[in-house]
Assembly symmetry: C2
Homo-oligomer: 366 residues x 2
């Protein structure tokens, strides 16, 4: 099928660019002496995970237990859940999954670790855990100066094996400069490595140091002691990472095809992609309003407002040529939640749809 | 099952409150002398649509053709698609659907209407359309002073029947006062009625005047000439409408149950509901930051930051009692996109889960 015959809105992926992105990260991490456990939350698609493993990834990262179950059902047997697992229903599911495959999760509190320990002991499994350390994102994760004491307590609990240290510091705040990203990445990595070494010195098998994302992966991989990096967004890239200087627009592999359904005023068009497709995420840098996505062919036309089913374009002179029925291609601001809103995406080469891919782990919030 | 045993995050609906909300709007519109065609985009759930019809709704509104197909499959036979239908694949689907049930859609351009006309003629069906008029939202819709001329041209096209006028003006901008909402609603309604009367005078059967939403439905229903109103959010209500003075917190029927998974600092907790559950929508009024939802039991604790799978709470003194494993109930800012992110919700009475409802029309973006 010709890509122009797809119904809209549609998520369209340039398969050549996707493969280049997967290869470039694999090569970059390998050249830095590191190992790659890519975060699959960006694509939620087993076929892409398989490409990542074929290019040398050592295992996969997932965001939720429900995503781990989907990936296990798809045949993957080495997963890291980049999150704390809490609550009785989930702990039992985790114990069941740990019987089928190698699955690790994060801990950052003695209370949480004790609950997992009890369930693991009752289920007769040993659950491998990583100590989640806060290296600057200020989300979850124990403070670095409390990490060794907490790890020592958790490592002594029955049913658990403290296999290492986990961290995610995100992208460097502020300036989109390579130096800033490198410094931020190295700081995260060195903090995690130091804690892992202290835990090893206390007799725990905390040999794993799992850190970083797309903006920091290659820098972290080059830091001695880091054993795996977890970039996710690099498979598709997006406008947020382009604006942060982490990626580039020409490396964006995913576009949303959307159709003009209304031309109610000379400077206004309405498209059939709203917040149910694009999300309302918008990260402004330097005070400039980036709109709700980027229309590469019409860089001066802004996606100025969104409702659930409507996107309103503020048209510049080039944009005024748009007519009802025309299709535009949009690079999303943040590709991960965009993927989560769709049931499938279309893989395209040279203008022809090669395959429709089901987003098998979409919507797994539990 | 006890509601406390649900895995999290979970969408929990107080069925008594839902029924009260459905009854109150039905009674209010009827007392005003109007008829109700509720917008089902808020719940996307056939069982709720059935309750609305049992309480006297004359038909249903949907947001997309794909939602119309889901509702038709569920047995509903009188639907209005509150949107322009454009593009060959959708026009053929619309023509097929028009053979099965009564389905109306909107037009606001001669170009769009001509495409629908061609497909309708080729398919041997007559498609009923409403002329979409812009009454102040500045989204889609023809400008009022161009509406009669456009309607006259569209009404002459073969295969189409121009049955009336459509408008959605949204909530009154600015001040959350009943007077402002009433004035805004009446202005929208009277504009639409005047255009319908002019089209009737020109010989078109444009007898339908379909307007309004939750904030304007009762006021519009009382305006002479309005034949139907389309509120949606009223079934659940949400914080946006509470803050706008359209609803009240005690009439919110849906809450997100979410669990504390991390307590990394005295004033910080992390919950298992992030933007994949709550959305990033936030409507500030008067400069105050409302956070990403409202925790009724902890009104001074703010949902300060979201990632896809993490919500970060900034805790006040009451919030500091939260421990890992605790569950909190959150009223979302905007309930419609929250529903669209979930596969199902739980109907609860007196703390007991009565039924799990599939969100059958979730994700129908086409």
């Amino acid at each position: 099928m010709d890509v122009r015959d797809l119904d809209t809105p549609a998520l369209v992926v340039d398969l050549d660019q996707l493969e280049r992105n997967i290869g470039a990260m694999a090569d970059g991490v390998r050249a830095a002496g590191g190992r790659l456990r890519p975060h699959t939350k960006t694509h939620k698609t087993p076929e892409v995970a398989r490409l990542q493993l074929q290019r040398g990834a050592i295992g996969l990262t997932v965001a939720k237990l429900g995503e781990a179950e989907v990936m296990a059902d798809a045949g993957f047997d080495d997963l890291l859940i980049a999150n704390e697992i809490v609550g009785t229903p989930k702990l039992h599911r985790l114990a069941r999954l740990a019987r089928r495959i190698r699955v690790r999760s994060c801990v950052d509190s003695l209370a949480g670790a004790r609950m997992l320990s009890s369930v693991a002991v009752a289920a007769g499994v040993r659950c491998e855990v990583l100590l989640d350390v806060n290296t600057g994102l200020n989300r979850a994760g124990v403070a670095p100066d409390e990490a060794v004491a907490l790890g020592t307590a958790i490592g002594a609990l029955p049913g658990l094996v403290l296999v290492g240290v986990f961290s995610y510091a995100g992208a460097a705040p502020g300036a989109p400069a390579a130096d800033a990203h490198r410094a931020w990445a190295v700081r995260e990595a060195e903090t995690a490595v130091a804690i892992a070494r202290e835990l090893q010195a206390r007799g725990f098998p905390a040999t794993e140091v799992s850190v970083a994302g797309t903006g920091s992966a290659v820098y972290a991989a080059a830091t001695p002691g880091v054993t795996e990096v977890r970039p996710g967004t690099y498979v598709f890239n997006d406008m947020n990472y382009s604006r942060l200087g982490i990626s580039a627009v020409e490396r964006c592999a995913l576009r949303i095809h959307s159709r003009v359904v209304s031309r109610p005023a000379p400077d206004r068009a309405v498209i059939d992609a709203g917040s149910k497709v694009l999300t309302t995420e918008k990260r402004a840098l330097g005070g400039e309003d980036p709109g709700f996505g980027f229309i590469e062919a019409l860089p001066g036309t802004r996606i100025a407002a969104l409702w659930e089913e409507h996107g309103v374009l503020r048209l510049d002179d080039d944009g005024r040529q748009l007519a009802v029925g025309d299709v535009i291609a949009i690079i999303p601001n943040h590709v991960c939640p965009t993927i989560n809103l769709a049931d499938s995406w279309y893989g395209v080469r040279a203008g022809t749809v090669e395959q429709e891919y089901a987003i098998a782990a979409r919507g797994r919030t539990r």
